[in-house]
């Protein structure tokens, strides 16, 4: 815990901003040449990110919007925004924002018992623990509640068997929230439980997945009779869908850029990196004077600005109860669509540097990023799922037909649990 900071919850945003500005200049290393994303790429095991997070924590600038009793600072979203703005020139452990702080930390805060919160949140906020989510399964991503990984109860112990996929950075993480089927004899949403799972233990095997770009951030996990004590159930047994729905809300919020649980700038939607990178790129290949290129740079800037405005408007609408929390899908989908567009703009401005570059050229990563153009439109619920959510939950249009509605899960046609490759 922080020893020197006694942040007054009533500190106004502007004086907090000045204090943060002075503290950042004094304590955090500046970004020099490399972006936070570059730094994170080189820090595969998250050692440096943990170190940066610890500096923030010791200085009283970690977990700004988490309650004081769990290691946070109990401040408002306005304080967080001010800090995020001030943190621009500094190296920040942005890799911890999603999912550790803004999704898992937030969900733990909502559903954890007092003991669970006291045990984990301060460590999560200080960077001592990194958390990930084990949600999607190889048998299907969009129909999350149709999951087949199961946890079988034996007294006060559950035994976990099955497989999860698309967990980001599981190899560097310490804990996961895992969704598993605990009762197959009831309809799918009613028989799921969420568990707190210690990742590095016998019976858990992690494989990194090599992506189209060559990156291996995503993982698949295999569970072979992994014991989980009953005190690690998050929320109620068989009521995990309530917890998962909230987790997905936090995920949309985080991906759409609205989460208050952050450590500084960056890592919102894919592809919306800092503002001047396109200008630098055009400058470096001599196309800045080209009117067509200037139009594209302005368009990228417009899309980014409108995204921020849309995120703020949606957050206000949700807060005022004008729309349900699922309206978080609006900025989420906007962000994914403009990210696709941004990748096209990158390609146009890169010109011949898109396919071919001198070894080690700084534009290399932009070229490779293009291969993952759809990343933001698939991760965290595909664009098609977001459109279902917006049309059904926000516009109240009729729900899609579901063949598994009200049927016990074991009577529903579904894919089988994959077995671990030997």
């Amino acid at each position: 815990m922080s020893t020197e900071s006694t942040t007054d919850a009533a500190e106004d945003v502007e004086s907090f901003r000045l204090r943060a500005r002075a503290w950042l200049a004094e304590n955090m290393p500046r970004i020099e040449g490399k972006s936070n994303a570059d730094i994170a790429r080189e820090d595969e095991n998250g050692v440096y990110a943990r170190k940066l997070q610890k500096i923030l924590f010791d200085g009283g600038f970690a977990g700004l919007c988490f309650p004081v009793e769990y290691g946070g600072q109990g401040l408002s979203l306005a304080h967080q925004r001010a800090f995020t703005e001030e943190s621009g020139p500094y190296q920040m452990p942005t890799v911890l924002n999603i999912p550790s702080l803004s999704i898992l930390g937030a969900t733990l805060l909502d559903f954890g018992t007092e003991a669970q919160k006291k045990r984990h949140l301060p460590k999560l906020i200080s960077g001592e623990e990194i958390w990930v989510q084990f949600l999607s399964e190889p048998s299907g991503g969009s129909d999350l509640a149709g999951l087949v990984t199961k946890a079988t109860r034996d007294g006060d112990i559950f035994h976990l068997n099955g497989s999860k996929i698309w967990s980001s950075g599981a190899f560097r993480a310490d804990y996961a929230l895992v969704l598993a089927r605990t009762n197959p004899e009831v309809p799918k949403h009613s028989g799921i439980t969420v568990f707190i799972l210690k990742i590095h233990q016998p019976g858990v095997e992690i494989q990194q997945i090599k992506m189209a770009t060559g990156a291996n951030e995503f993982c698949q996990e295999f569970f072979d009779d992994v014991p989980i004590p009953i005190e690690d159930v998050l929320g109620k047994i068989d009521d995990g869908w309530t917890v998962a729905s909230r987790l997905l809300f936090h995920e949309r919020d985080a991906m759409g850029g609205g989460s208050p649980y952050l450590s500084g700038q960056g890592q919102r939607g894919h592809g919306t990196s800092n503002r001047s990178d396109l200008i630098e790129l055009a400058e470096s290949n001599g196309t800045l004077g080209d009117p067509a290129i200037r139009q594209l740079i302005a368009e990228a800037k417009i899309n980014e600005t409108v995204g921020e405005q849309l995120t703020a408007r949606t957050a206000t609408a949700i807060k005022q109860g004008l729309v349900p929390g699922t309206a978080g899908s609006i900025p989420r989908l906007y962000s994914a669509m403009t990210s696709e567009r941004r990748q096209e703009i990158n390609l146009e401005i890169l010109g011949t540097a898109a396919p071919v570059w001198e070894p080690g050229a700084p534009s290399r990563q932009k070229s490779l990023d293009y291969l993952m153009r759809q990343g933001g439109s698939l991760g965290g619920g595909s664009n098609e799922m977001q459109r279902n959510i917006i049309s059904e939950r926000v516009l109240l249009m009729p729900r899609e037909y579901a063949a598994d509605k009200d049927k016990p899960f074991n009577e529903v046609l579904h894919n089988q649990t994959p077995t671990r490759p030997r």
């Binding site: 800045l288 009117p291 200037r294 899309n303 849309l310 703020a312 059904e392 009729p398």
Partner: protein, 379 residues
Amino acid sequence: MDLELTDDQGLFRETTAKFIEATCPIDTVREWSESEPHGFNRKWWSQGAELGWTSLLVSEEHGGGSVSGHGLLDLILVAEEQGRRVTPGPLLPVNVVAAALSEFGTSEQADRHLPGLLSGESIATWCIEAGRGSILPGGPRLQATKDGAGYRISGVTAPIEAADVADLFLAVADVDGVPIHVLVDAATPGVVVSEMESIDFVRRHGAVHFNDVSIGAGSLLGGVADASEQIDRLLDLAVVIQCASMSGAIDQVLGFTLEYAFDRYSFGRPLASYQALKHRFADHKIFAEASLATTVAAANAVDARAGDASELASTAKAYIAQSVTSELHDFVQLTGGIGTTWDHDLHLFIRRAVQERALLGSPADHRERIALILGLGAA
């Protein structure tokens, strides 16, 4: 609409909406477009003026006044409600010139022109359009030459909203490459207005010809010899009004098309139940919300004269105008054949949007304006 309205603003918005509903529903809009010589009823415009439609950007000392202390935030409520109903009347040109007189005019100019504009008795319009890129520095303009203490002005400015009905023009002209702003009575010798055909038959546009028009020094707005800053300010105000109108239109059309999708059945199910259509409605919802969000953000910045006011105004205009017309046409597609007919209201919205998209800077012009603000000057 701004989600954080004061109680007074909420009431003002409601009063405005009810007044338009009661006096000028779309059937009346269509009727006036044929029966009224300028597309709207002058007595009705004066009633609107009494509700505050012309006074929100004018200071109290000049006889104006806002609802909330933030006149532009109040005015976008009117513009949005008008956009929802394709309302006629010179809301944008009158407010822009009234703001110019109140903010920049000499007291003689303000005293002479503002009372009539505030009451609705007289009408003024801003003459900046003179060809592609008029809103940008160095764009095409009327040409002025020094003539003793005054100027002589020549050229054509077009298309100008409400030119046919305006008593006063606030015209932009270039003197050796430097823009000036001059107040010109419509009755001035050498000023000739010619009719143009407008796709938006509700709000009409004309051309204003300056045939070697002699202007006294007293006509220079505020006596200022370089109007560049005035032009930027008025442009910001004008495009925010356009954006509020366009976002009102989109939100309204989304609303009634969605209702239609619920009411209309094919193959035994409502159109609203088809996923292919639901997904498009989701995309339209995003555009509607983003349009409202960027309009309100721009209005706040312009109202506060923030450093990024011009950037945010152009952001809103470029973002909304780039897609508003194709969005509206997708509502035609969702509506089906009936949406392409004269009797359906969609074409009125499309006519208005085509006009608002192109005038006072196209989306490309506003992207160029942003590029200039970002420091990406032409090479």
